[in-house]
């Protein structure tokens, strides 16, 4: 007869989770707290003083520039979300309901997923031969006589930024939606078909309501990626487009920590609020365990 384990199971669990809790506390939560504190401190070109100074906050909350930057960020978020959601849905729907065998479905998913493993900087430079002034798109347009001179807004522009976002972020949407669609029992669709529902009615009344968790999680990926991005904006716009996150990075590079911190707090509150709302539509743990 073995002796009962002397340590209660709850305590064992707490010990097992401790290293992870430690990392998140020291590397995420504590730093976030310090960002908040520093946003209220005074600074000069070299360092931060432990003195109360509300100028950074005044600046963030009252300046027209901040509003313009957020307007630009939200414009990008809205456009990228709309495009990736629509495109993602069409492709996910095709993979889940039109493709008939699992093998073909997995092969097509892999085909769509492979380019995702290209590193960011390489991905950015890869658009030059296509969208640049002497790029293939301009060569084709001029060759076909559609334009007489190269279009300059294809690369290093807002358009280029949007293209790069859609290129990167459609995949998470597709994966989340396909995953949700796979959980719809075929019999439900079959029943609707037998009752005479059109394809559009099935999409609107059955599929869309049932894949809400997938849409929510995909949206979290897309929204947080666009809001937190400074790299793609900088590379694809050639530094010509400024967003809220870009402004923070610029201040970070100039060691202007308090104003950067105040702006970061605003951004973090917005991101976490958005994610909080989106998580109401999806229980991540339940989604994963089924």
């Amino acid at each position: 007869m073995r002796l009962a384990n002397p340590i209660p199971p709850r305590i064992v669990s707490m010990i097992q989770v401790a290293p992870m809790a430690l990392i998140f506390t020291t590397m995420v939560l504590l730093p976030l707290g310090l960002i908040f504190v520093v946003s209220f401190l005074d600074y000069d070109f070299a360092r931060v003083f432990p003195e109360l100074y509300l100028g950074s906050w005044e600046d963030v909350l009252t300046s027209q520039l901040t509003r313009d930057l957020y307007a630009k960020t939200f414009k990008f978020v809205a456009i990228v979300w709309a495009v990736t959601a629509l495109l993602g849905f069409c492709i996910a729907y095709f993979l889940a309901f039109h493709v008939r065998t699992m093998t073909v479905r997995l092969m097509l998913l892999a085909t769509v997923a492979i380019p995702f493993w290209t590193s960011g900087p390489i991905r950015a430079v890869s658009w030059v031969p296509l969208l640049g002034r002497e790029g293939l798109v301009n060569q084709a347009l001029m060759g076909l006589g559609i334009t007489s001179e190269p279009l300059s807004w294809l690369m290093y522009s807002e358009f280029a930024v949007l293209i790069a976002y859609v290129h990167l972020l459609t995949l998470p949407m597709i994966v989340c939606m396909v995953n949700s669609m796979g959980k719809i029992p075929p019999s439900v669709i079959q029943a609707a078909q037998d009752a005479g529902a059109s394809e559009w009615q099935i999409i609107r009344d059955i599929i869309l309501p049932l894949i809400r968790p997938g849409i929510a999680i995909g949206t979290i990926f897309v929204v947080t990626a666009v809001m937190g991005d400074a790299f793609i904006v900088k590379q694809m716009s050639g530094g010509q487009v400024n967003t809220a996150t870009m402004a923070i990075v610029t201040e970070l590079n100039a060691f202007m920590y308090p104003p950067a911190a105040a702006k970061s707090v605003v951004m973090l509150v917005i991101v976490l609020a958005l994610v909080g709302v989106l998580l109401r539509f999806a229980d991540i743990r339940k989604e994963l365990q089924r």
Binding site: A21, L34, F94
Partner: protein
């Protein structure tokens, strides 16, 4: 049952085809243009085929701001290997914890979600700021690894949820009935069953550590990591040598991913053979 395809099938199939072209076209240009002739530029047409730009890359004789690619590659790989191992250990341990209810489980779970959804730049900024205020120097071994763990651990935990959510507890009960102690249950029953998940966590951590910049950048201390070095080259150089770098690094990433998939499918095959036998 070869029912006729509805019209929407052809429309969506075309859309998917166009999307795949859109996905692959940029990198296809990179691969082709990396073999550009010595006098060629960063756009088509090709001025002959050559391996000139690879020679510039590996010879290091180009003098075009090639920096120190080999050193940053070694730095990145060293960091990625350590992060992969630590992530797997911590994530497996935490995953085991979540098989029971315990106080603080929601706190850790929502910390993980927060860490995952927060823009990397702010996490990186926060860590650099913390080190700065405490008077510590940022260093790849402390702040660098820590910053990367904030990115790899949430995914590790989610993978463990997937793996342990599908774990059939009767195997473990059978082992207990046969007299296995907690340690034997873990090493002889649980680990072999969740091994594909552990490999998955290590490879996901390895690749994301290797590519991460937003969190790492401010915290890695002296010396660039690979993506930082490549980003630096983008601004310093405007010749097809960039495409040679792109081809080589992509080949490397794909090899990593390919090896993972190969290892996982070998495991799966061995398992089905064993159950069939």
């Amino acid at each position: 049952m070869t029912a006729r395809r509805p019209r929407s099938f052809y429309f969506l199939a075309t859309l998917l085809g166009l999307f795949i072209v859109f996905l692959y076209a940029p990198m296809a240009c990179v691969y082709i243009l990396s073999f550009q002739g010595p006098n060629g530029g960063m756009s088509f047409p090709m001025t002959g085929w050559s391996t000139h730009w690879y020679e510039v890359l590996f010879g290091g004789t180009g003098g075009q701001g090639m920096g120190d690619i080999a050193a940053s590659f070694r730095r990145s790989i060293r960091l990625a290997l350590i992060v992969a191992v630590i992530s797997a250990i911590i994530a497996v341990s935490a995953g085991m914890a979540y098989r029971r209810k315990f106080p603080g489980s929601n706190f850790v779970f929502y910390s993980a979600i927060t860490s995952m959804v927060l823009p990397g730049i702010f996490v990186g900024f926060g860590i650099a700021l913390t080190f700065n205020l405490l008077g510590w120097r940022v260093n790849w071994f402390t702040s660098g690894i820590g910053a990367q763990l904030t990115w790899t651990l949430p995914f590790g935990l989610l993978i463990m949820f997937i793996v342990l959510g599908r774990f059939n507890p009767s195997y473990e009960e059978a082992a207990t009935d046969l007299g296995a102690n907690a340690r034997q249950r873990f090493t002889d029953v649980i680990v072999p069953i969740i091994l594909p998940g552990i490999i998955g966590i290590m490879m996901a951590s390895l690749t994301s550590s290797y590519e991460e910049t937003a969190r790492t950048q401010l915290n890695v201390g002296t010396g660039n990591t690979m993506p930082m070095e490549v980003t630096g080259l983008l601004t310093a150089s405007a010749t097809p040598v960039l495409f040679a770098i792109g081809t080589v690094t992509t080949l490397f990433s794909f090899t990593l991913v390919g090896l993972t998939i190969f290892a996982l499918s070998r495991l799966a095959k061995r398992r089905t053979m064993r159950t069939a036998a």
